[in-house]
């Protein structure tokens, strides 16, 4: 492809509550065997983008660990590759990434030294499949300066945590409002942009000169009447996991056959780091209904309408309902867990109960001592 990729994975988000205590949103485990950033990285790899930069900043340990080898997404190449850029102190700059535009400015060398004419910018928290070549074709056809991938959300979804766009009949964005108090449309920005590389460098340099740091506020909103900014409507599945509720819902979506088939069976595949875990094991006493179970798990109890990530141990007589159990969790015997998200590496004592409600999903953090044979 004639583009480089940039994944913005540095942000913090209070809406994730305790789940963001120890990791960046882009490193959130999703749908049993993946992490959020796998979707964007796989899309880039499947779109034949060869050179990808990931900007990390907030709580990047687990994300960096996940990205420690680039071979899983086929980025282990001599031509291009996967680059992880964290903020560094230089002669000119001793700041963190103060915003998305600032992050781009601090890594301007990467943009300048690339040869590809276009740049695809995407966040690390979107769950979707997309061939960016289609967006690029649209971008060229519309002679756009910037193309923003947009999605029409259903009426019942609260869209005020997104950027709202209004377009004219041609698809040109005529209004762009970030996280509005009152939503005036149901079309939101997915935070995925296609832009000509030289155009981006120019805009970012101008931002920096004016001490502006945010790509949405200081580029998209500010330039909406000056530049041709177009909306590319995404018709297929898209969700963003940056709040506890949407994280829970997105995971539960994978219990639907159409979502599962779309991501797991249809071309192209989503790739992830391989963990070398044995197959899941069901011992006598296991009762599993309508659930996703990942490798390395051992189940002795009841699991219903739930998603078990990798290496989860469920003790005897446990009942787990409508819950998400993240990686490497040990659940002692006779425990009841309903409507919860259990944080990874938790150790849940025997005979305990954790109950949330569908409206208020409970996040369970339990760092007890674990005795393993």
């Amino acid at each position: 492809m004639r583009a480089i990729g940039i994944v913005l994975a540095g942000g913090n988000n209070k809406k994730m509550r305790e789940l963001s205590y120890k990791r960046a949103i882009a490193a959130m485990p999703v749908s049993g065997s993946y992490r959020s950033i796998d979707f964007t990285l796989s899309n880039m790899s499947n779109s034949h983008i060869q050179s990808v930069a990931v900007f990390t900043q907030y709580n990047s340990r687990s994300l960096n660990e996940h990205l420690s080898s680039s071979k899983w997404w086929d980025f282990g190449r001599k031509q291009g590759g996967l680059f992880v850029f964290t903020p560094t102190i230089t002669a000119e700059n001793s700041d963190w990434y103060r915003g998305t535009a600032d992050a781009l400015y601090q890594n301007l060398a990467f943009l300048k030294q690339s040869h590809e004419p276009y740049v695809v910018i995407a966040p690390g928290d979107g769950i979707y499949k997309l061939d960016y070549n289609k967006v690029l074709e649209y971008h060229i056809e519309k002679k756009a300066d910037i193309t923003v991938v947009c999605k029409d959300m259903p009426e019942d979804v609260d869209v005020t945590r997104f950027g709202m766009v209004k377009t004219n009949d041609d698809g040109r964005i005529i209004d762009f409002e970030e996280k509005p108090m009152v939503a005036e449309s149901t079309t939101i920005s997915c935070g995925i942009y296609v832009i000509r590389r030289r155009q981006l460098i120019e805009l970012i340099e101008r931002c920096a000169a004016e001490d502006r740091v945010d790509f949405v506020r200081d580029v998209l909103v500010r330039y909406k009447n000056l530049k041709r900014i177009y909306a590319y409507k995404l018709e297929s599945y898209w969700n963003n996991i940056a709040s506890v509720n949407s994280y829970y819902q997105t995971n539960m979506d994978f219990l639907k056959p159409e979502v599962r088939n779309y991501f797991f069976k249809e071309y192209p595949d989503i790739y992830s780091k391989v963990d070398d875990l044995p197959p899941a094991k069901y011992n006598p006493g296991a009762v599993v209904k309508n659930s996703l179970i990942s490798s390395g798990s051992i189940i002795n109890g009841t699991v219903e309408n739930s998603i078990l990530f990798k290496k989860v141990y469920v003790g005897n007589n446990c009942v787990i309902r409508n819950s998400i159990i993240l990686n490497d969790v040990y659940i002692g015997d006779n425990t009841v867990i309903e409507n919860c998200i259990v944080e990874s590496r938790d150790t849940i004592r025997a005979n305990t109960t954790y109950i949330g409600t569908p409206e208020d999903i409970r996040i369970v953090l339990e760092k007890n001592e674990r005795y393993v044979l």
Binding site: S31, V274, D276, P279, Y282, N283, A286, K289, S294, L308
Partner: protein
């Protein structure tokens, strides 16, 4: 200069004819095992876990699956700048081009490969055993004994010893005598087919015996070295080790994995077994599914019932289907309402709706009674079984079958259908 203290040579060229239709299209080391693995994953993982980063894999029989599985060795961390994994097929020479005619002959034909690493020791492995073993400990033992050859051997019940090659040792474990499948075994130490050779000893023996037809380690090389007075020692191994050379032992070894605490435990953090995982998604267990005592691979969808079974990755078990005491390998589709009992179904096969497999009275296989026994139904890879047929015990099926192949909708016990290029 390139220098490796010990390199491994992994013999993976055999067909494994006693696995019947399972090895019709793949070499035995490439046969699936334990839901997501292939047999060769065990020796390869042992190598890297033992710190051996140079492995030559000798292939000959049906190598495609092995080649694509091993690739450049990424899953085992054997993608190295120097060393790593190398596939060594037989090749044409300016004179005397030859297939690999025996285990030692195969190694002899790759003298140059071994020489290029300047090894002190060469480890000879076969690709058809399930076990975890630290070859580094064995090497230390070899060095401590100042041995020329060390042979891994394990104690077996004395009544079984007559099925193996046994070694008779003195009190220092130096081997005094060999007996191949003795009627009256004088020892219960069975050779496991794992050898460490000091390189000059191996090199000299291979060159000396190069004209020997079908040159074999057990039959020729070891007796030759022993005969000239080399120091040959037995390294006693007491862990889990399983030869999966017959359908019965292959089935048994798989079934042992589903014990509550399996003797061969894949869930231990220490000594991981690595494999190429190209199916990543989690498995989906539907609302009406019932699962008891089984292991299930990634991406499998279960709508029916599974009991006491080993299910591979990417399998679909249809609604109302019941699978018992069976091994179902990756990519198989079991139709709705099918009943599968004590069957081994190889990769990417399709079983029709309502088909019943493994029922009826015992009958000896008419195809090959030595291979197909233990009441097992064995179905080769990419086979198709039509809807609503009944299949008996000790049956072998390979290829795309249609309703016409089943007179009265049934195939009795001991029968077989082998289509296109079948083997015994």
């Amino acid at each position: 200069m390139v220098k490796k203290e010990m390199i491994a040579m992994l013999l993976a060229g055999g067909q494994g004819s006693r696995l019947g239709v399972l090895t019709q299209k793949v070499a035995k080391p490439a046969v699936s095992f334990g839901g997501k693995y292939r047999i060769i994953d065990f020796p390869l993982s042992n190598c890297i876990n033992s710190g051996i980063d140079t492995v030559g894999v000798l292939t000959q029989y049906q190598p495609l699956r092995l080649n694509s599985h091993i690739g450049i060795g990424i899953p085992w961390d054997l993608d190295r700048n120097v060393g790593g994994v190398t596939i060594l097929p037989p090749y044409e020479k300016s004179k005397g081009s030859d297939w690999y005619t025996g285990t030692a002959n195969a190694i002899f034909q790759n003298l140059e490969y071994m020489e290029s690493y300047n090894p002190d020791y060469v480890l000879i492995l076969s690709g058809d055993h399930i076990y975890k073993m630290d070859y580094e400990v064995m090497l230390e033992y070899h060095k401590a004994n100042n041995a020329d050859i060390t042979i891994a051997a394990m104690p077996v019940p004395i009544e079984d010893a007559s099925r193996f090659g046994v070694v008779i040792t003195n009190e220092t474990n130096r081997i005094l005598e060999f007996e191949e499948k003795p009627q009256q075994p004088r020892s219960n130490l069975a050779s496991m087919g794992i050898y460490i050779f000091s390189w000059p000893v191996l090199r000299e023996a291979l060159v000396h015996l190069s004209e020997e037809p079908g040159c074999d380690f057990g039959k020729h090389v070891i007796p030759y070295c022993h005969g000239r007075g080399d120091r040959v020692f037995a390294y006693e191994y007491n862990g889990y080790w399983k030869d999966v050379g017959t359908l019965g032992s292959y089935w048994e070894a798989n079934m042992e994995l589903i014990d509550i605490i399996p003797e061969f435990n894949l869930y231990e953090e220490y000594w991981k077994i690595y494999t190429k995982s190209d199916i990543i998604p989690p498995q989906f267990i539907a609302r009406d599914a019932v699962i008891g005592r089984s292991i299930i691979g990634e991406g499998t969808e279960v709508y029916g019932e599974i009991h006491n079974s080993v299910i591979g990755a990417g399998v679909v078990i249809g609604a109302g289907a019941v699978v018992r005491d069976s091994i179902i390998m990756r990519g198989c589709q079991i139709g709705a309402g099918a009943q599968i009992t004590k069957a081994i179904i190889a990769e990417d096969s399709r079983i029709g709706e309502g088909t019943v497999v493994g029922v009826g009275d015992y009958a000896e296989s008419r195809y090959s009674p030595k291979v197909y026994q233990f009441d097992l139904v064995t179905i080769g890879e990419h086979s198709v079984i039509p809807d609503h047929v009944r299949i008996g015990k000790n049956v072998a099926i390979s290829g795309v079958t249609t309703a016409e192949d089943y007179p009265d909708g049934a195939l009795g016990s001991g029968e077989y259908i082998i289509k296109a290029g079948g083997v015994r």
